[in-house]
């Protein structure tokens, strides 16, 4: 049987997940380098290009239904309070305001892993949901919110992570202090005793906000007892499950659809309260409801990259051998349970037999963290590669040589080899692209007002994907193919790449292939679009289905032409007799003969190989100029060299890398959520005050892919690329700034303010 149910292991956003799922057991010949291929790996234009450039792509935010009403959410203005009294009567008197739901008139629905409710009268952060109003127009819904009267019992709060750590957590949120995460390896004191030198420092990173261009939104409609949800989500199945569980209705009575969405970056990886609120309102009103968050709410209530306060110490020998490392960090998860740990890279990036890790999650009265493009790794690599740099300069060693000296050949946490690791190749390619030899051998030794520096940092991430992930193929009249899967394309190019895989195997032109994703009512299960796992999970399932479809076409041709199957070959999208090539059938011919409108085939992702870990690797190099009069930093160039297995599509790959690097640059230099500690209010709640880069902030970026394919990881050889792109950027820029000015800025973002302060020591 070519399908089997097996136990498999994947690592998703830092969590090790054991799955039991159906996998394909077929072994397919590996493709070799992209030069051998016709469609995969080529710079194919996206198949949804027309829709996007013509304005005809309908995003969730654009969904308009007949008799649709609008819903807006009232959120806590206070960082910590209990609702004493709430009165919605004034709001309901206004013509056009249709309904208001609160904890008083709705059933209890558990939220945040049963730690809270959909409407919890205990408000734990500025932005916590209080009520939701539906009205004929968005303006009226907005007015309804202003007419809701709420009296609060104000409670003590903390928005500063350090202060919260020192406070009684139960007084801040009512939750117990999260358990301290610890990890030990080897003989720590022995490692220290073997060392000649050590360096220690503390690094801090800010809370930053995803801010995708499309806000979080849903449009929901009931049809009898069946609910259809259009949601701007990275995880249709998670939304389906959360909505069905919340409303206590059958799973197959909820259909979640997401065709086009305006970005997510992790903020749309879980179901939002807003979707459930809209479903409740729609049920009460008997009308479709559109609910959306505005930019202010986006900056308050749909997650963030948590902050980190990381103290690292490295001990080593004068020859560069690292003998021991310790890591102690804390970070704010926000007001509800979530993780803020950033220690993964520390445990695996560089070879060190003796390490000690302590990581503490802290509750504060501010918006809850969520996965944000390479959660933990972006923070972790900045700190790790800063301290590694410090150690290199301390012992007078080239920072790359130090990294090579401590190159980890195996995964040190699981003690197994990698399916592939080309980090050495990445170091060498990146160093060449940036002119590594031009760096200041002594940091800050350059002359003049504008000082130039070069720095680098390394990248590690998972992204090998895994089962379960399924795909279906439907071949129809005329030889048209539809690929169907329950994953979703969040803009990264999944539609296009899955079509390329089918086109490669079945040799059907791209124009004849349609891809349907993002519909729980249609697609078989496939993973959420996070963790850089989509292509590495789903593309192999499409290959599996395509290869099986090919066999099916051969058997159909055998029956039609009355030739044994082994005398038939598949050639360029046609099925022909080996002995008499004039005898051949096109796919369209076969479908015509079969007098069926469609041929169907399922495919599945194979199991991950036993005894290996899959990681992607890379290194980024930054060349910066620092104006020592104004503190302004200009990034001249980023060179990014990565091992990501097989590049599936040159165009979408380049965009992913450029986009990730610019987000990383922005994290290094610009972005930061600012909260007024005396009031608990976030002060930069819009794009006016929360700055992300424009087209004029772009440095020269060179992308170098050092890998051809990872033949062990899956049948297409791909590892994910979305997250690797952003991981080392901030670390590389920070090290370049240090190389330029000779003073290390240990807290992100590296603003002109901090640079001038570091140089001239104002305070």
């Amino acid at each position: 049987m070519p399908q089997k149910i097996v136990k498999s292991k994947i690592i998703f956003e830092g969590e090790i997940v054991e799955t039991i799922g159906e996998v394909s057991t077929e072994e397919y010949e590996r493709w070799g380098a992209n030069e051998n291929l016709k469609v995969v790996g080529k710079p194919v234009s996206r198949i949804d290009g027309y829709d996007k450039v013509s304005g005809s792509a309908v995003y969730t935010f654009d969904k308009i239904l007949q008799r649709m009403v609008y819903a807006r959410t009232l959120r806590s203005p206070l960082p910590h309070a209990k609702i004493k009294r709430i009165d919605i009567s004034k709001a309901l008197k206004v013509n056009g305001i249709l309904d208001v739901i609160t904890f008083q008139n709705t059933e209890d629905i558990d939220w945040y892993w049963n730690s809270s409710k959909l409407f919890d009268p205990h408000l734990r952060y500025q932005g916590d949901e209080i009520a939701c109003a539906a009205a004929e127009t968005a303006e009226l819904a907005e007015q309804a919110l202003k007419l809701i009267e709420v009296d609060y019992d104000e409670l003590p709060f903390a928005v500063n992570t350090k202060k919260a750590l020192e406070s009684d957590p139960e007084k801040l949120t009512g939750f117990k202090k999260p358990d301290l995460f610890t990890y030990d390896r080897g003989d720590f004191s022995k490692g220290i005793s073997e060392s000649d030198e050590s360096v220690e420092d503390t690094f801090t990173t800010p809370v930053v906000i995803h801010n995708p261009t499309e806000v979080h939104c849903s449009t929901v409609a009931w049809d009898g007892g069946k609910l259809t949800v259009w949601d701007s989500t990275q995880a249709i199945f998670s939304v389906r499950n959360a909505v069905a569980d919340s409303l206590k209705i059958n799973i197959n009575d909820v259909r979640v659809i997401k065709k086009y969405m305006g970005g997510g970056f992790g903020s749309k990886l879980e179901a939002g309260k807003y979707t459930v609120m809209a479903a409740l309102l729609a049920r009460r009103l008997g009308r479709p409801v559109k609910i959306y968050l505005d930019r202010r709410e986006m900056n308050l209530a749909v997650g963030n990259r948590p902050d980190s306060h990381q103290t690292l110490k490295v001990w080593g020998k004068r020859d560069g051998t690292i003998t021991a490392m310790s890591y102690k960090s804390f970070g704010a998860v926000g007001a509800y349970p979530q993780g803020a740990a950033a220690n993964w890279p520390f445990r695996t990036m560089y070879k060190c037999p003796n390490i000690k890790v302590e990581d503490q999650n802290v509750f504060i009265n501010a918006g809850r963290a969520r996965a944000f493009r390479a959660p933990g790794h972006v923070q972790g690599v900045f700190a790790l590669d800063s301290i590694i740099d410090d150690f290199a300069y301390k012992i007078g060693m080239d920072p790359i040589d130090l990294r090579l000296k401590n190159y980890a050949e195996v995964d040190q946490v699981f003690n197994v080899p990698y399916t592939s690791k080309l980090l050495k190749e990445a170091y060498s390619a990146g160093a060449q692209a940036i002119n590594w030899d031009l760096r200041n051998k002594i940091p800050g030794s350059g002359n003049g007002v504008i000082k130039r520096g070069i720095g680098m940092a390394s990248q590690i991430w998972w992204g090998g994907g895994g089962p379960p992930a399924h795909a279906m193929l439907k071949l129809e009249r005329g030889g048209y193919l539809t690929v169907i899967s329950g994953t979703q394309d969040i803009g990264t190019g999944t539609y296009t790449i899955l079509a390329q895989v089918a086109a490669e195997i079945l040799e059907i032109p791209m124009e004849k292939i349609e891809v349907i994703l993002g519909d729980t009512g249609v697609g078989p299960y496939a993973p959420s679009s996070g963790g850089s796992q989509t292509i590495a999970s789903v593309a192999p399932a499409v290959r599996d289905a395509s290869e099986k479809m090919k066999s099916k076409l051969i058997s159909a041709a055998a029956a039609i032409m009355e030739i044994p199957e082994d005398k038939i070959k598949y050639n360029n999208g046609e099925i022909e007799s080996i002995e008499d090539p004039a005898k051949k059938l096109s796919i369209a011919d076969i479908l015509k003969e079969l007098r069926e409108e469609s041929l169907l085939m399922n495919g599945s992702r194979e199991a991950n190989p036993d005894g290996y870990t899959t990681n992607s690797f890379g290194a980024q190099f930054a060349d910066v100029s620092v104006d020592t009069e104004t503190g302004k930093i200009t990034v001249n160039k980023i060179a990014a060299a990565h091992d990501i297995g097989r590049p599936m599509n040159q165009k979408t790959l380049e965009n992913q890398f450029h986009g990730g690097i610019l987000q990383g640059l922005s994290y290094a230099l610009m972005e930061e959520r600012v909260i007024d500690e005396s009031t608990g209010q976030v002060v930069n709640l819009n794009m006016h005050d929360y700055k992300i880069p424009t087209v004029k902030d772009v440095p020269k970026i060179e992308i170098i892919i050092v890998s051809k394919s990872d033949d062990l990881v899956n049948n297409v050889g791909a590892k994910g690329i979305g997250e690797p792109a952003i991981i080392p950027t901030a670390g590389a820029i920070a090290n370049a700034v240090y190389n330029a000015i000779g003073v290390r800025i240990k807290s992100l973002p590296i603003t002109p303010d901090k640079v001038l302060n570091a140089i001239y020591k104002f305070n």
């Binding site: 710079p43 304005g55 005809s56 086009y260 969405m261 007002v449 450029h658 902030d697 001038l756």
Partner: protein, 471 residues
Amino acid sequence: MKQPVKFILNDKIVETIEHPAKALLDVIRERYFLTGTKEGCREGDCGACTVLVGDLVDDEIQYKSVNSCLTPIAAVDGKHIVTIEGFNLKDKLTSLQFEFVEQGASQCGFCTPGFIVSLTGWLLQNTNFTVDEALTSIDGNICRCTGYASIIRVVENIVAEIQKANLGEDKISNLIELGFLPQYFTEIPKLLKGLTTFGSDQPYIGGTIVSGGTDLLVQRWDTIVDEEVYVKKSNGISENIFIEEASIVIKGETTISDLMKSEIIKEHIPKLSKWFSLFGSEPIRNKATITGNIVNASPIADSTNLLLVLDAELKLKKEKSTRSLPLSEFFISYKKVDLLPGEHVDAIHFEIPEIGTFIGWEKISKRKYLDIASINSSCCIKHANNKINMIRISAGGVAPIPLLLKKTSQFLEGKEITTSITDEVFGMIDSEITPISDARGSAQYKAELLKRLVLAHLKNCFPHFSVEELV
């Protein structure tokens, strides 16, 4: 309260009845179901809602990009509005759309229509086609996915194509020929000329005056539709900016773009158009008025601090009565101005700067483009033989109001410029500013930067003046 509005939406004349301050974005999306125009931030900071507004000026059609989320519908009465759907050709992509697909320049695609509208607008309104200018036209379009590299490749390719083609006089026909525009664009001037609108040229009878709306529709988008408003029509540049008795007069509704394009301003303050490219973004500059910038009373208003050193006076109008007030006396305390209820700024005027007068403008912000200043400063100097005869220095972001550094200026007046005076200048600056720490920088940082900006003014005016040793 609602009033009829008539305009050309893409290739069709449309009529609707709306509250005059209703956002054009909502009308486009909800009334006409053209959802290619996106809403990303509703404050003019993302560009996803960019559309073009075409208007006849001296019989010639001129287009500019605006943020439809901040454009009151009454302001487009009698104009041509082009959304992304209005560029679509039959059976094929425009040359620009094609390049976007070819270069893979859209990822999630939510921002893509805005980029295409801005860039097509740039092709329509410019004569000098350089990559840098094209990039300026999209400085108000935020993309969170692509990192812009693929978009920059699109820009480079189309600029090369346009440069080669030489658009010449009949630009619209040539753009149609090159596949950048649909055919119907040639018909628009005629259609516009024949368009009899309902709401045009109504006299002011009361209510909130909305001119640019770039701040108002951010602050009060949901309640403004319940207010009595009067949307002021914008005039041509020559009617907005003129010379009267040796003074330059700028009418209240003048936009930042008008100012940058005005021949009068180009002659007397030639660098203004370069400086003000750092003001907001292209679509914001196309809508935002200079009065709005002043009356908003932000301590870091980019135009206010320039007008302060030009010793500008405001002409304030209330019904039939008018009064004049020096701009420097207009600001009372944080966001509080000397403006009576019902009074508005009718015009701003200042003496034409004498030939040889130095005028400088500096701005430091977190992000170089599309950002509010952390601090800014302007300076006006009359000088001869290294001696300062008259100087006015302004500073934004270091006090609750836009500030004239009177003491520092007084100290410098009559002085010869040498490095030995810098300590004293710094002391003077410190004595008259009160910066606070906020999201845009610490108080100390702002004070340090201001000193550097004042030195930069002096250095620019007196090139021999060296400040290297200060570092």
